[in-house]
């Protein structure tokens, strides 16, 4: 133990014999570690935020359906399947937010053209709590909660059928009872998704208006729910099937995983670059002390002792780097928690379109605990790899004549 304590003291002092150089090595490792942690936290928080935004507009982390929903029969009667009762929906332990919707494919006619679109009826008050659809209305207003026969259209759709705010459009579709559903709606707002197909294929109106148009009883609707199931098991609900978003949206799931893996890859590349610089500096540091190592060997220090002293020296460097790197990574993450990053700064103010959905996320960073030991392990591994060659060179040459 005494010998080990002496070895640690010797290695620690050697580490600081050229403080400027050690500081530069330490700084490169600390900045590397801090940035890697920030990057991983950003990736994790960003992915979560993007998926949350995406899923909120779409169908939640899980889609809960009637057990027969995907059977052929059910698909034919889109708005005529059983839904979860409001009693179950109100169970906050299961769902954070819910809203009702109905959807139907319809034709929409303006002054110059008729196009096929998907018309959705929204429970306005609850919708605004769950989705951020109102933020996408850039011209005019969002649907009023107590209004009737109002409609909002995608900006591109309005241009193509040549209608403006305040004008009327005709909507024609097939009602639930098989009759022809048709009515006039007043355009109150235009949705700007930043381009893409959605802008010419979506239209929204009030829930009651849509139900009335399609001759649907008030109890027929979809339940759109929002709940974070990431840390919880799948809910067990009688008579319903639960499907995760990964199953429903395999392409999206692959994209998110790809981003995660790619972030790790970037981190490893950063480490390789930092390690190459570190290896070169360690080589210089060790070779400068070559004569000293030779004297140690003459006095009686074995190669293994010299190896141990170098290992401890680099281990101390790594430990200091990890402590300060972890602190820097945490601090940067915390800073971006208080001041979330608006992704629009990376996209020239344009929204991000994923899977046909428009996202304008502001990413609030959260620290992911496991990164704070995974990254240090990676740093230790790279430092160990970094010092192998300089150490072999020095130890090989430590046995020398007077």
């Amino acid at each position: 133990m005494n010998q080990f304590a002496f070895l640690v003291k010797f290695s620690y002092r050697n580490l600081w014999r050229n403080p400027k150089r050690t500081f530069i090595m330490l700084a490169s490792l600390v900045i590397g570690t801090g940035f890697i942690l920030w990057d991983l936290n950003f990736s994790e928080s960003g992915s979560k935020e993007m998926m949350k935004r995406f899923l909120v507009q779409y169908q939640g982390n899980y889609q809960i359906t009637n057990i027969d929903y995907y059977d052929v029969k059910n698909r034919k009667s889109v708005n005529n399947y059983k839904t979860l009762s409001d009693d179950k929906i109100s169970d906050k332990s299961l769902f954070e937010l819910t809203t009702k919707r109905v959807t139907a494919p319809v034709f929409i006619s303006g002054a110059s053209k008729t196009l096929g679109v998907l018309l959705s009826g929204l429970d306005i008050k609850r919708e605004l709590e769950l989705s951020k659809l109102n933020e996408m209305v850039k011209v005019g207003n969002f649907l009023s909660a107590d209004g009737n026969k109002e409609i909002i259209l995608g900006k591109k759709l309005a241009e193509r059928i040549n209608v403006k705010i305040g004008e009327e459009v005709g909507v024609i579709g097939q009602a639930l009872d098989g009759s022809v559903a048709n009515d006039l709606f007043k355009v109150v707002g235009l949705l700007d998704f930043g381009g893409g197909d959605l802008e010419e294929s979506l239209a929204f109106t009030q829930l009651s208006t849509a139900q009335e148009l399609m001759v649907m009883p008030p109890e027929n609707y979809h339940q759109r729910v929002s709940f974070d199931m990431s840390e919880k098991p799948l809910p067990e609900l009688d008579g319903v099937a639960v499907t995760s978003w990964e199953t429903l949206l395999p392409e999206m799931s692959v994209s998110v995983r790809f981003i995660d893996k790619f972030t790790w890859l970037i981190c490893i590349i950063i480490m390789v670059v930092v390690s190459l610089g570190l290896s070169n500096t360690l080589m210089i540091t060790f070779l400068e002390r070559e004569q000293e190592f030779q004297s140690l060997n003459i006095i009686g220090a074995r190669a293994s002792w010299i190896t141990k002293s170098l290992l401890i020296e680099v281990f101390l460097l790594g430990t200091l780097a990890i402590i300060f790197g972890d602190m820097l990574g945490w601090f940067l993450t915390y800073l971006c928690h208080i001041y979330p990053i608006n992704i629009a700064i990376f996209t020239n103010g344009k929204p991000i379109i994923m899977g046909g959905m428009v996202l304008m996320p502001t990413v609030r960073l959260y620290s992911v605990a496991r990164y704070y030991w995974e990254v240090p392990l990676m740093i230790y591994l790279f430092i160990a790899l970094t010092m192998i060659w300089p150490m072999i060179r020095v130890v090989r040459r430590s046995s020398h004549a007077i």
């Binding site: 002092r13 006095i299 220090a301 190669a303 004549a401």
Partner: protein, 228 residues
Amino acid sequence: MQFEMMNVSKVYQASEENKVYGAKDINLKIESGDFSALVGPSGSGKTTLLNLIAGLILPTSGKLSHGGKDITFCSLEERTQHRLDYMGFIFQDYQLLPVLTAAENIEFPLQLKNLEQKEIKERVEWALKQVGLESMGHRFPRQLSGGQQQRVSIARAIATKPQLILADEPTANLDSKTAQDIIDLFKKLNQDFKLTFVFSTHDQRLIDQVRNVYYIKDAQIEKRINHA
């Protein structure tokens, strides 16, 4: 314990035709308590002899023994351990570790020997006292003069209580007065503790005060003089 070299030669061979002798048919006995010097011009083979004695290089032919034990072809690790167990070294440029204090430099080989902390402390204090630096143990080498650094180097060499101390040009970097002080210290240590010294030197003052002088020329011992 006697150290002996029997018909030892060391050949540095750059090519088949180009052989250079670092040592040639050397026969040398170093008895316990000897106070000897290897003397000769640069390139004569003094340092090669020291290296052979220390086991830092292996002979091309001949035999080395220590206390009757053949140590000619020990492994690298065994030779390192042998130096630690039985030898002390003093260098021309002191070779102190700059990150350790004087006391810690002396402690260094004792730590390598894995001695008890109490014994280490006692030996460090004893060694510092012998070289007259009792009050300077806490100083780093950069805070000491050349003569003081060489004293620390001597203290480091004697702290392990070695059977043989090899010193390579120990006074070469010192001014005249300091060099004489160091020589006096060597003599005192030799007389008081029967420590065995072998010097490689050009310093006439040291040559005049050793008991045995081995004149080396062209890698051979040309002449031996016993001042006793």
